[in-house]
Amino acid sequence: MADLELRGVTKAYGAAEVIKGVDLQVAEGEFCVFVGPSGCGKSTLLRMISGLEPITGGEVRIGGEVVNRRGPAERGLAMVFQSYALYPHMTVRQNLSFGLENLRATKADIETRVTEAAQMLQIDKLLDRRPKDLSGGQRQRVAIGRAVVREPRIFLFDEPLSNLDAELRVEMRGEISRLHRRIGNTMIYVTHDQVEAMTMADKIAVLRDGRLEQFGRPLDLYNAPANAFVAGFIGSPRMNFFTGRIAGGAVRLTTGETVALPGDTFDMAEGAEVTLGIRPNGLHPVDSGSGLSVTVTGVERLGGESYIYGSTQDGTAVTVHSPGQTAIEPGGAVTLAIDPAEAHLFSAKTSKSLRKGAAS
């Protein structure tokens, strides 16, 4: 077990800079998720930690030691790959013991560790099969098992669940969380799925375009996103965004409506261009009174809850979450009240949060 620290880590392929300076500290035993859209550099960053990818600049420290110059085998890490990367010509048992053999563990030691890991992951009956004779979920378990037997200081996962079907994904999600609770190692987990990030992580690192956008606990990210990107990325369905400017201590939207916000929560410089963010559950259809007028384009009725899709006068898409069932029909107009407590305010220019005391 060990903690992990990244200091100004950069990566360039020739002239193309892929990781543009990332600082990060993952404490011992933490489950940290790297999340971000596809191509933002999550895998690259993970592979730099693993040692598979040389580091262009900055420092990677594991357990306080700089490991930049160490090879992947010498960092004491284990990795679970997106494609599982099981050795197709070896049985499950050989897959699990290959790494231990390379570390010159004794036969008896290998045997006990493999058996233990296999039992923990319920693959003990599959030990003599080859990967091609396993189902997707079983392969996934073997891939995890291969990491577990190594008793690494840090586990690395690169989108391990993206090849599974939805149901299995939920199941394996729980399983990996349980594994973490049970063995307590530091884990770094890469995904593009924010639901996975929210449900599994102790800490989430949101990456975009090779930069760290925000790093913190899941609910902190949800409640106080540092910028419009994080706000839009975390939370499902996506947050609604409206453009406007500050006028008289309130936000005047481009569509004309005015939204009053508590002045002590946000920096509201008069005349500043802003983006107002409100999650779908911060909007409520009202029968009368002031609010955002929206043309309804679609309604999803799920029984216990409903989603209303619409667009404002200037064409901005709006999603509303409404508990219970609704009588609203597509084609009609509806007025939406805005819950000021649920509002987020971002600078239109820098897209940074205008929340007072927000970490940038």
Partner: protein, 347 residues
């Protein structure tokens, strides 16, 4: 059965083009198999039978009989005319146009029969004398050993050297990779046939002329092999290699524990190709080997040619023994060979 054949093209009856196709294929079978079959049959004929003109399809052996008072077995003839007409008699010796015969039941009485009045009593049998002679009179085992040694060792070296290069070219990104690939393509344009003189001189400088190694080494690295293996290795996911690196495997270990086993199908194809090339190789051994004791089977076969009288009896037997391994390999690995050759576009 007829029903089965006539099912062709999903119609009820055979179209004339079907008849023509089968006729063509039938003729093809005759033309392709016939000569080889003829060679094999001929190799089982006695020397006398080989002299027989016109040749007969099946190998015949004249019947012999061992009679008291004669050390060697005597040839048996059927007499067609004269007092002994209709009887089978044994020939003691032949003097000019007359042969001296004895009746098997009366081996002491010599009867003279004109040779026109008798015909040999024969039956179909495989004569193995040609093969026996091959082992007794010729250094056949020596040639066989030379061919086998060259084939096995050269194939092993080719597999090792080519797979290492293919691994580097398929799984590493390094400066100069494009240049190396261009070099490999370049060697494709330099077949041995156009550099015979310098190849001979360089091999001679290494002191390898007239040794089996001189045949093995110059052709051990093949561009075809590098291409074939590289193409296959490109399909092995890089993540498996990364997984092995995380599992503490050295690059060399990745090569022989991961890459080699996973490339087995391509390696098998290259092995078969290499065995074929080496076993059948002719021009380079012809130049590199000049002493008979180093000859391969192909050279030995060729060395029979050019003498005034060709010893067909031994030659036929040796030819059959040379093609047997090839046919055996082909029979077992036909599918591999066909796809392998088609995929590399070379033989």
């Amino acid at each position: 059965m007829a029903n089965f054949i006539t099912r062709t093209r999903g119609r009820q009856r055979l179209h004339w083009t079907d008849w023509a196709s089968y006729a063509y294929l039938g003729f093809g079978v005759l033309l392709m198999f016939g000569p080889v079959l003829w060679l094999v049959l001929s190799s089982f004929k006695t020397e006398t039978e080989l002299q027989h003109y016109p040749p007969r399809l099946l190998p015949y052996v004249q019947q012999t009989v061992t009679l008291p008072g004669y050390d060697d077995p005597l040839l048996v003839f059927h007499v067609t005319q004269g007092p002994l007409a209709g009887q089978d008699v044994a020939q003691v010796r032949r003097i000019g146009l007359v042969s001296q015969m004895v009746r098997p039941d009366d081996p002491t009485t010599i009867v003279k029969v004109p040779i026109a009045d008798r015909e040999p009593v024969e039956h179909v049998a495989l004569a193995t004398s040609n093969y026996q002679k091959l082992f007794q009179r010729f250094n056949f085992l020596r040639f066989l050993w030379n061919s086998t040694f060259i084939t096995v060792v050269a194939t092993a070296i080719t597999l090792l050297v080519n797979s290492m290069a293919a691994f580097a070219l398929s799984k590493y990104e390094f400066r100069g990779r494009g240049t190396v690939m261009a070099m490999v393509i370049g060697t494709l344009m330099i077949p041995q046939t156009v550099v015979l003189v310098p190849l001979f001189l360089i091999t001679r400088d290494f002191g390898l002329i007239n040794t089996l190694w001189g045949v093995i080494i110059p052709g051990a690295a093949t561009p075809t092999g590098v291409f074939l293996l590289r193409q296959y290795m490109l399909t092995i996911p890089d993540e498996i290699l990364d997984a092995a690196r995380m599992d503490n495997a050295s690059e060399w270990k990745i090569y022989w524990r991961i890459i080699l086993p996973l490339s087995a199908p391509a390696i098998a194809v290259l092995a078969i190709l290499s065995i074929m090339w080496r076993w059948n190789d002719f021009l380079w051994p012809l130049i590199a080997l000049s002493q008979t004791e180093n000859f391969t089977l192909q050279l030995a076969l060729n060395s029979f040619r050019g003498e005034f009288t060709t010893d067909w009896a031994s030659l036929l037997a040796m030819t059959v023994l040379t093609l047997v391994p090839v046919v055996a390999v082909f029979a077992f690995l036909q599918k591999y060979i066909a796809t392998g050759i088609a995929s590399t576009g070379g033989k």
